[in-house]
Each structure stands twice: as C-alpha cells, then as structure tokens.
C-alpha cells in the first residue's frame, strides 16, 4: 500500500484552477521534488495533502485512510506529516528550543523534560544546539529554516512536505539547509519538496514531478526528467527556454499569422535575426511545402520554438499526427524546399512515437 495516494485531485478558486487532475502514489522512503513554472499548483498540492487547503474534488489517502472523508481527525493525520514553509513560521516571542518543544508538549503530550531532551537532540542534528536559547530574530534565514526543520522533526513525522524551503534564503545560506535535507534522506525520511533549485532537485530526489497546466505533466527519475524529458513543456522548462507555441488544425490555418507571431516572438526576446529567418524558413519549407500536402483536411499539428539566451540556441520542433511520415526521405517532395531545409538545419531529425511525428532540431549561432 502506498504511503500517500492522490486520486483525481482538483482545486479550483473562483478565477483560477491550479490543480485540475492530480494523480500520484508516494511510497515510503521516496524523495520527490516537485518542479515547474510559477503558478502551476506545486504549493497548492502540498497544502492539499496537508489539509491546509480543502480540495474541490478528488481523494487523498494516507496509509489507506481517506483524509478528506467526513469525521477524520485532522490533527492525527497532520501528525504524520510535517511541513516546512518558505517563510519558516517560527514564533518570534519564543526561544528556539521552545519553538521546537511546543508541538511535542501541546500535541504529543510529552513532558517538558522529554520535549526538551528530544528538542536539543534535534537542534544538535541540524547544527543549531548553540542557538537553543536565542530568539528567531537573532538568527539568519538559513538558521531559522534549520530550526523549522528541527521543529517539524519533533513531531516524529512519517513524511515531510517542504514548500520552497530555500526560496527565501540568501544564496550563501542555501547550502546549510540543503545539507540538512540531504541528511534526512540518508536516514530514510520520506519527503516531498517543492523547489526551484534544479541542481538540488536533481541530486537529492528519487523521483521528480514536473507540474504544469494543473497536472503532474511528467513524472520520472531525475535522470529521465533532467536528461531526457519526454514532453515538450518539460524540455522547455528544464532547458530554461523561452517558448513559442502554435497549434495548427486544418489546411486553412493562418500561415501569415504564425509567421508574424514568430517575428514578434523573436523581436520581444531579442533573438538574432538569422534565427528568425531560419525558423520561418524551416516552418515554411518543411511544413507548408512538404508535410501539409500529406495531411488530411483536419489534423493536429503544432510548432514549438524555444529560445535560450543563456546558450544562444533555438530549439525548433514541429509535430503532426497521423501515420509515420518523414518528409526528409520522401523523394517526391520539392527538391528545392528540402535543399533549403538541409542547408538550414543539417541535424534535423524525424521520429515517430505514439501516433505522432516529430521533426526536431537545435539551431545554434552559426546557423544561416
């Protein structure tokens, strides 16, 4: 039985639906990093799992118990799940050790001595024992976050949910918090971590959820997600590309409109002109001249461009449904069009997967 099982979870607000249909299973000992663009429901998912938000629809099972069912003792459920927040949420009027003891005395019914002893052990484990009698205001951000982790551990949770634990920290302090989380992994703690630290996510996780469009858009090992993402939006995010996307559905699509959008996209992102010309040329020669005549009246196709100003490269991807068709090897195609394609993008590759054709290439600065 999975430790946590989420089925068809939906969370809708009046103007926005951050979670549309979330399904996942979390096993004991897993470390799952949740990554994705801002506003895609990563934190909302954690807050739903911890019952800080009530989902609009769906089910969440913790150790087989539906925690959204009527009559469930939420405090009992939450005791299994610790949560660490971006802003630490320490009580400013309590000393560090008192912050750590509070849950154990008030909710677990431990004596003050037991809570103190355990609290000091935990502060020791996160390197904060020396500051036990200080107040939160005397601590740096990294130190506060380590205390917040110790406080969470004081409740003996079975899983810890981290909501961007390093986002509010000065970059110099990220390391100390990361090393505490790393030591928890070594002890076998189950963790779900919403993070924007890609290197951290890659290093520490056993599994990555890439969230986008209200879904767990892609789920895989760090090697898969960072090394060989299968889906377009994941790839664009991982490679930090600025995206352009156009859907094409019929023979009468707006060719001029798409060309003009490509030009606007390039202009807005200060992309060198030869990339614009190369993209428009590939789109016209490949799609208009070679692929479109082979498609039926209506179909599903898309053009995706991704610009990386860090690496000065442009990813070009065309996809279209239907039977496998590689225009690059079809000798009936317009010779001149194919010549221009080959000269513009010698490394252009065709692949066919799950009923979808893909033509993809990365254009680099030397592209004419």
């Amino acid at each position: 039985m999975s430790m946590i099982s989420v089925k068809h979870l939906c969370k809708a607000y009046p103007n926005i639906t951050p979670l549309k249909d979330i399904n996942c299973e979390i096993e004991r000992g897993e470390v799952i990093s949740i990554i994705g663009p801002s506003g895609t429901g990563k934190s909302t998912l954690l807050r739903c799992i911890n019952c800080l938000e009530h989902p609009t629809k769906g089910e969440i099972y913790v150790d087989g118990q539906n925690i959204l069912a009527a009559g469930v003792d939420l405090n009992k459920v939450r005791q299994k799940m610790g949560m660490v927040f971006q802003q630490f949420n320490l009580f400013a009027h309590l000393m560090i050790i008192e912050n750590v003891m509070l849950g154990a005395t008030d909710l677990l019914g431990k004596t003050r001595q037991e809570a103190y002893d355990h609290g000091m052990e935990l502060l020791e484990s996160v390197g904060m024992a020396e500051k036990a009698f200080a107040y939160p205001d005397e601590l740096s951000g990294g130190q506060k976050q380590r205390v917040a982790i110790a406080r969470t551990l004081s409740m003996n949770p079975e899983i810890i949910l981290f909501d961007e634990p390093t986002s509010a920290l000065d970059p110099t302090m990220v390391g100390e918090v990361v090393s505490v989380i790393r030591s928890l992994k070594e002890k076998g703690m189950t963790m779900m971590i919403v993070t924007h630290e890609m290197k951290f996510a890659r290093d520490i996780s056993t599994r990555i959820f890439y969230m986008d469009q209200g879904l767990i858009y892609e789920d895989g090992t760090p090697e898969q997600i960072f090394g060989n993402p299968q889906k377009e939006r994941t790839r664009i995010f991982i490679k930090q590309l600025k995206p352009y996307h156009a859907d094409i559905k019929s023979q009468k699509f707006d060719f001029l409109g798409i060309n003009s959008e490509i030009a606007q996209f390039m202009h807005k992102n200060l992309v060198p002109e030869h990339f614009r010309d190369a993209s428009q040329r590939l789109f016209e020669e490949l799609f208009m001249q070679c692929v479109l005549p082979h498609l039926p009246a209506t179909f599903s196709a898309a053009l995706d461009l991704g610009w990386s100003d860090r690496n000065l490269l442009l990813e070009f991807a065309l996809r279209y449904d239907g039977p496998a068709y590689n225009p690059l090897t079809d000798t009936n195609n317009d010779e001149l069009a194919l010549l221009l394609v080959r000269k513009t993008a010698p490394e252009l590759k065709h692949r066919y997967e799950n009923g979808m054709n893909y033509l993809e290439v990365t254009l680099k600065t030397e592209t004419k």
Binding site: N259, E273, D277, E284, Q289, L339, L340
Partner: protein
C-alpha cells in the same frame, strides 16, 4: 509583399519588398508570366525584400528561364538574408546579382 512595376523601353523593373514566400510568390509569378517577348531586360529590384523561400526562388528561376530566351534578368539590392538563401541553394552563381 508589395510589387511596383516600371517600364522604360525594353526594360521592365519590378521593385519587390516584404516577403517572397509560398503565399506571395504566385503574385510575382503572374507579373513575370505577363512579360512580353519584346522585353530585353528584366530587373527584379529587391530593395526592401526581407525574406525569400523556395517558392520565391522558383519564381526567380522561372524569370531567369524566360529571360534566357529573350534577354537578361538582373537582381538588384539583394539584402544579406536573401543573398544567403541564393548562396545556400547554389543559385547565386547562375543569377546576375548586382552589388
């Protein structure tokens, strides 16, 4: 794309600006079809032409073929992006491109 035609004796000049692509090339193609056999010099002035596709190149090649029989074709004011395309395809060598 915008095409402006001027004629001086047996010379016709088309000033072509914008984009010469799948959508617009047929318009220039019609103009070239209409060039009569008495014309000895056809000038395609690409001042303001930003982009040319295979369809545009084919139109230029059609003009070249036609003028081979009756006179000369000259390309003028070809911008670097368009010249790149002629060079990529190898047609820069067979066309008269005035610098």
């Amino acid at each position: 794309m915008k095409i402006t035609k001027t004629q001086a004796g047996q010379t016709i000049t088309y000033v072509v600006s914008g984009r010469l692509d799948t959508v617009t090339a047929p318009d220039l193609g019609k103009e070239i079809d209409a060039v009569t056999p008495d014309i000895k010099e056809l000038v395609l002035d690409f001042d303001g032409l930003e982009y040319i596709s295979s369809a545009g190149i084919r139109t230029v090649l059609t003009a070249q073929k036609k003028m081979n029989k009756q006179g000369v074709l000259k390309l003028r004011h070809v911008c670097p992006a368009v010249l790149d395309v002629f060079e990529l395809t190898g047609f820069a060598d067979i066309l008269t491109i005035e610098k």
